[in-house]
Symmetry: D2
Subunit: 363 residues, 4 copies
């Protein structure tokens, strides 16, 4: 495969550039009989959409999705689902100045060397605008999973230096940060306001949780559930690290501490993050991802042009000072896409498996 | 694909259980004309091999690999390379006691629910013994990459609470820990000796570096080089987290700090870990992985049996008190497999690309 | 993969139903730097288009394709190419009568059993309308291949009982049948006119030829060039057989007759059809395909409804009396897609291969 | 993928050359819980085995298969199944004479150009010896399918000019030709005896039938069941054509003749060969394949050497005068592998589909 398709049985193929005419996706492998309309996709698209608070880019995109196929009389047919989002607010003139130069920490330099030719308008294909289609496709997966009792939710667990502990899912969608602690919001707002004044950007950490996942999903030894989650989450723009469960904290843990003991009433802890040997255990799947600070900042930096000459670089245009702020729905979408794919794979091969052992939940 | 194949153009398919007759692999897509003998694979197999120091399991395995196909008169033919390692020291009797119970933090419970039937001897397919074939296959990739000027090396960067800063590649293979700082070794040995007395285990962090990688490897938007590295490294037994470059430290970084500026003389830093927009930049590729503490410890723990009844669990047998100690060659192998796959993919599609911009190295 | 993606490195994913809003495709893996505009796709789309002679369906479709992505300033960027064709002449009212019945020899019955739900309008996804996107994608492949000296052309070699020997490529696109013998056209027209009067349909045989293919394309032992051609051609609606070279005539041939001898001046014959051991030989690639008669005919036939009750079936609507008539550009497209995919695969793995043996052509 | 893996969910990866140490395969995706031993594979291996009648090559191979993994206590575990067959009767000295020359109609010339290096001993990887592993893997698929009520059987339907109509499955395995008409056997034997005296070879046609296949298998629009059958059957050595149902006879058929009418009692005919719109209909799946005459004949022919110089070529060694004679179990294996793969794919995506329409059989 050529890089723009995700999944084995539930596949998502996307195309489209930041400032081209449209984004497009084909979702193949969705089971038939799922009630689906574009409204089902719009909720998450709106959560990801730019321009909804002062803390994100001021680009305005309606992000209205049209379903081109695969849905008939309100339900999926089992045939591939075509999705289309027209770009409306491209402002390509903003970008002509960066045609022959490489913005530090952007993909300009690597696209140039890889392809020789490059759509420099707004990052072209390397722009996070591409993730709109991930969110749209993920919304289909989420809806199917919800009918199986699987719920996927995310929150921002750290903004720059500020850790944001999980308090409650209530209200997580009601603030610009996807903070699961409403009391933290003033601190986050103040931080962001200062950051803009500093003409700088900052990183963030997002945590995604899937509840209701049955045991058995994941295909060792390579296509482990955690390995495919790592792939899917790391494929999001700006992500530099992925953890499952205790993640890097495992390094300093002792076995007696890390191992999640089992009792007839349930697992007593979830350091594993719901995955053992690459297979879901029935506990909540918990993954976190680290997003780097936005590369587009107005503070000048050193760079070179296509001839290799030194230049001074200032990135203008409209940018998110923290790409992590809009990343929560994207991370949820990627987790949903991995889970539905593995749900289908599990059904294919292990349809006949029957065990008497009760499924444990989490204490 | 069914989970036991890795890669798109350079593919590795493995089979074999810890206590079955043999491990087997088929490596498909190796370019023809590469001088190759089983001795080329043995070096890394010996680095991964159990029983070479008092800090690893005392299981004795020769891990001698036989090349069954794909090599003729000493060079690869372009046809698939079959690899065979016979298991010799299985001691299956050690494991009959765990037939109907689930060891905490092991894959017993999840394999049981997924497949209904389970080879309980030494973890069966879920055993880290499986990684011997990754190392063998990775050694082929490494040899090919070396001929292209690409060198892959790893070291242990943390053992439990002890951070081990990189000092030099010299001697990294001469100590049981793959420590790149020889002065740290006494501290590591003392720590491990105490750990065994405590009947406990501990986690570790490994860092892998690829030097000489040309810019252009990686296939956005999904098959980004870092995404595929995350997948490959997370698929190693016991891994709970993967970072590229600054990784989770990016969360607290500012954009002015994180972005790697470019000068005609080279990149001034490498927070990106050699990957921008999912494509290699020509800088060293740097990835780290977190390994959890070994699950097999002799300190008793709570668990259940296949009927859901509470039991007290003690894991006997021969085990590594820190699986991270033998993980360095495995992590190198996985990075090598990802890089050769993307080298071939890049050739396929961008064979005609010519740019005049000089390739920057790292300052 | 879920069935709607073709190819390994040059992949085509399609979606869209006969009477839905649009057809859509994503072509991934096209090398960068290829000059491309929608006009390049329109030539073959127009060759396949319905309603251009009295011998095809009278449905009118402009089949105008919009390029949504992957092309910037007139050249491909290496990023996925999104293609969109809006359906304009759907006439869904024609089809409500067949909602609960199965047309003999159509996919109605099998889609019903497979998916449970079915877009019955004009065959939905099973309609040959879907092939418009194959032709559009194939035109991209053709253009790239042409720049490598590879030319793909097809002709109708049999219409019902009438064999149409190859005479010349001149004029093959100037008649409704893609006959490579202009003298046969009056006979073909008379046959078709009588067929319409008989309210019947008939099969056809198409032959496709690729000239200029270098030796070395094809990936044994499974992904042989001829195996992938067979797959691609058999995947076209209504195709029931595929041959390469002498095809079924090989059954009665002797080895002394079939084997294509080699001389320093070239191969003396081409019974192999340009493929030996699954790899192109440098001779022309020759494949033929058998298309069944159109299933939609107005002569009544026996069938059942969704309750299993017997009915009498008459298929109304606008249909091709011989689907083979429009199949030539589709078959060319499929051959082009297979060849470009294998050209890229060959480059990936065998970039370094150098042999001194001259490449033979055909005498 | 690199060409030596077949399938999407039930995958078979093979390696091994004609005169190398061994053939090896990894079968991944077999559902757990299937009783399996090497004896289950031996029946079909023996049917394919050389040297069992005077009409096949006199090479002696025990073709004893060892199961290396994936089976525990007599049942499959869901983990990949490793298979090993040691080569025992290689006689490599027979082949040194052909090291620098190309045998007409063999893969020598194309392997040479593709890979630059070539295992010339007995055709190396291009030898039909490779198909032993297809048969072994296919036997696993057959056993699983049999438990689902699906039976796959084949017969020789034509030997050179002699058509062999189907009479009965009884005795088809009791003659060297897999003739389903015992009365034809003397004629076939006489023909073969004369052929050997003529120092020539001849083609054959094989027909394979699957009974008991449920409706719904096949994944349009590309991975149609017939398309994947065409791929799998065309990938067998020496195959030049594949038909489903009426095949090439469809070309001259009228729609009124070809279409298989449906009645509440069943389909009235099976011109479709059990596949409509790329999906199984519940009727028997019927496919035929054309095998070319063996290329290795002792009658001299013109060829060239690696320097491009003209030579006279005589192929010595032990060869089948009609490769079609041993092809029946191979064709069955390939059909079995395609069907099990699509059975699993159908389960994955359409597990919830329920229709009330009765499944029709064949009248």
């Amino acid at each position: 495969m050529s890089g723009n398709t995700l999944g084995t049985l539930f596949t998502v193929t996307t195309a489209g550039e930041s400032h081209g005419p449209a984004l497009v996706a084909i979702v193949d492998g969705c089971p038939p009989g799922l009630a689906l309309s574009s409204a089902d996709l719009q909720f998450d698209l709106d959560r990801r959409k730019p321009g909804t608070s002062r803390h994100t880019t001021q680009r305005q995109e309606a992000d209205e999705v049209e379903i081109l196929s695969g849905v008939f009389e309100g339900v999926t047919t089992g045939c591939p689902i075509g999705l289309l989002i027209r770009n409306t607010d491209q402002k390509s003139k903003d970008y002509s100045a960066i045609k022959d130069v490489f913005r530090p920490a952007h993909a300009d330099y690597t696209y140039h060397h890889k392809y020789g030719v490059r759509d420099y308008r707004g990052g072209g294909r390397s722009s996070a605008r591409e993730t709109a289609m991930r969110v749209a496709a993920g919304a289909i997966a989420k809806k199917y999973l919800a009918a199986q009792g699987i719920q996927i939710r995310g929150y921002m667990s750290q903004l720059g230096p500020i850790e944001i502990p999980f308090k409650s899912w209530d209200g997580v969608n009601d603030n610009a940060f996807f903070s699961a602690d409403p009391d933290k919001i003033p601190e986050l707002e103040a931080y962001m306001d200062q950051l803009r004044r500093d003409q700088d950007s900052v990183g963030a950490k997002i945590t995604v949780v899937a509840d209701g996942v049955p045991p058995g999903l994941g295909e060792p030894v390579f296509d482990r559930l955690d390995a495919e989650l790592a792939y899917a989450l790391m494929s999001i723009n700006a992500v530099k690290g992925v953890e499952v469960g205790a993640g890097f904290a495992s390094v300093a843990q002792r076995g007696t501490e890390h191992r999640d003991e089992l009792t007839p009433e349930g697992f007593v802890s979830n350091h594993a993050g719901g995955v053992l040997g690459g297979i879901s255990s029935g506990q909540p799947i918990v993954a976190s991802l680290a997003l780097k600070p936005t590369s587009s900042i107005t503070t000048p930096g050193r760079s070179i042009d296509v001839n290799g000459e030194a230049i001074d670089m200032i990135t203008k245009g409209r940018h998110d000072p923290c790409v992590g702020i809009r990343a929560t729905p994207i991370a949820e979408a990627m987790m949903a896409l991995v889970l539905i794919d593995h749900l289908l794979r599990q059904r294919a091969q292990n349809a006949d498996v029957k065990v008497n052992t009760p499924v444990l939940g989490q204490l």
